[in-house]
């Protein structure tokens, strides 16, 4: 019975920060009191960047968690990944539209001359094909290739954490925590692969 509510609840929880942020921006743009500090655009950047990286890490947590707990979580993985893309899109749009207002000279300088932004751009660009192919019919259509393509999530999250780390001015605590989470999630996979190989090798030699 309760199972039926899991997915809608998940969507509400995942969308809530975005809805709140958009509402606060609406207040701001209508000259009403809001919670976005005196510099709403910077607030948007940080808020959306933080949620993008959180959803990337949450998405990467699904598989290990499902394996360790035997819960059937894999069916939520695509939705979580899509939320990472959604927040990444907000992050990027805020940068392009609100922050730099299509000031191409500055944007291009940023992307190509500043490694921190290059890594962010790389992460976001690579997320696009994953988002586009995240629909059910695409999963079917691509078959085995879907798995291969979506392994890009590892590269994306690595780039994202590097971007996060490089963008910080003084306090690296949060990006270091992100890096540690990412390292353990990747480490778990390396460990699994290593084990699988060992088992295979054992079978061959037996």
């Amino acid at each position: 019975m309760l199972r039926k509510f899991i997915r809608p609840l998940l969507h509400i929880a995942c969308a809530a920060p975005a809805i709140w942020l958009i509402y606060q921006n609406w207040l701001w743009l209508n000259f009403l009191p809001h919670e976005l500090t005196a510099n709403p655009i910077e607030y948007n950047t940080d808020f959306t960047g933080d949620w993008t990286i959180r959803f990337l890490l949450i998405t990467l947590t699904v598989t290990p968690l499902a394996k360790l707990t035997k819960w059937r979580l894999l069916k939520y993985r695509r939705a979580l990944g899509l939320y990472a893309f959604l927040y990444g899109l907000l992050h990027f749009l805020n940068y392009m539209v609100l922050d730099y207002f299509f000031d191409w000279a500055l944007i291009i300088e940023d992307i190509f001359k500043r490694p921190a932004i290059t890594f962010g751009m790389l992460a976001f660009t690579l997320l696009i094909p994953l988002a586009v192919t995240s629909f059910k019919f695409m999963v079917k259509k691509l078959g085995k290739n879907w798995q291969k393509l979506h392994r890009a999530i590892y590269v994306i999250t690595i780039c994202a954490v590097i971007h996060n780390y490089m963008m910080v001015k003084a306090d690296v605590l949060i990006p270091v925590i992100h890096a540690m989470i990412l390292t353990s999630l990747l480490g778990y996979r390396v460990y699994l692969n290593y084990n699988k190989r060992k088992i295979r090798l054992k079978k061959q030699t037996a």
């Binding site: 209508n30 005196a38 910077e42 921190a116």
Partner: protein, 318 residues
């Protein structure tokens, strides 16, 4: 009200203009849509800000009256701060700085000067000779404000302390006290926060030691009870809640140089042509504005300060 302003424009403009400019600021507060804690009524009353118009007619060519219409709303000046001693987020200082006790306050003066010692704030700052200076404030993070500071020229303090000829630089430290500054529990920076100026920069008439803004004493989060204001440099040079002044021979290592010398130099002059490694400094967002505006060389104070850097490669000495 303890602060007297004594600017030429305060003499020439009557109460009516003062009040109407105040009202227009209030409208702007509404327009900017900034959430206020105490409501708009708590900003300041015109009586507070302009109760004691200048008694002395000493003109002040640096009052910045042309910027008067651009002043940043006080909620933003008091609510959006970088002051890591009270937290890392911009709204943390406003929330947390109540633990600071700016009264009584004393400042230790040492190094190459004749009048070393421990000074009570009142002995260092001549509260009968305060000036208002409306300055642009450009943060290294590419946002800016216009702030009506109240203070005294730093040169007036330096003269009192009589530095010797060995004093080539002046060096400042912020208070260290984890009880008063809870953000110091974390070693984001090697406390205390440190800053410094070359002697000729310190003596420049634009450089002030501020004790107030908007006609009121500094709020704790703005660096009460005294802070440095050097309007042609990035905001981080404006060290807050100062407890120590030293006259030194060698260029001091500022906190930000220690943190990332390739990103923050000793001079830190506002310069649209020298980018921060991670972002451009060509433009800035004035708090309250929607779009960015071009950043001015020396933050618009080139006329008064560019001679200080003649012959220096500003790309190297950033």
């Amino acid at each position: 009200m303890l602060i007297k302003t004594k600017n030429s424009w305060d003499l020439t403009e009557n109460d009516v203009t003062s009040e109407s400019s105040y009202l227009s600021r209030r409208d702007f507060v509404k327009a900017a849509g900034i959430a206020t804690v105490g409501g708009a009524a708590s900003i300041l009353s015109p009586e507070l800000a302009f109760a004691e118009p200048a008694l002395s007619a000493k003109s002040n060519p640096y009052d910045g009256r042309d910027l008067r219409g651009e002043q940043t709303v006080i909620e933003a000046v008091r609510g959006y701060n970088n002051f890591y001693e009270f937290g890392m987020n911009k709204d943390d200082p406003a929330r947390n700085a109540h633990t600071l006790k700016p009264e009584p306050w004393s400042v230790v003066v040492d190094g190459h000067c004749e009048n070393k010692g421990k000074y009570a704030l009142e002995d260092l700052i001549d509260f009968n000779n305060l000036e208002e200076r409306i300055y642009r404030m450009r943060c290294v993070e590419a946002w800016s404000m216009v702030i009506p500071w109240v203070g005294v020229p730093l040169s007036s303090i330096i003269e009192k302390l009589s530095p010797t000829s060995d004093a080539k630089y002046i060096y400042f430290e912020t208070l260290v006290d984890v009880e008063q500054m809870p953000g110091q529990r974390r070693g984001i920076i090697k406390w205390p926060y440190r800053e410094g100026l070359r002697m000729d920069e310190a003596m420049n008439p634009l450089t002030i030691m501020a004790v107030g803004l908007y006609g009121e004493k500094l709020a704790n989060q703005n660096g009460a009870p005294l802070r440095l204001v050097v309007p042609w440099k990035y905001g981080f040079k404006g060290i807050k809640s100062i407890v120590k002044i030293s006259f030194v021979e060698n260029e001091p290592n500022s906190s930000w140089m220690r943190l990332a010398a390739n990103e923050y130099g000793f001079y830190a002059n506002v310069n649209p042509n020298v980018s921060h490694p991670r972002w451009s400094q060509a433009k800035e967002r004035r708090i309250g504005d929607f779009s960015r505006r071009p950043t001015l060389m020396f933050n618009g104070y080139g006329e008064q300060v560019s001679h200080l850097y003649e012959g220096m490669d500003l790309r190297r000495f950033y």
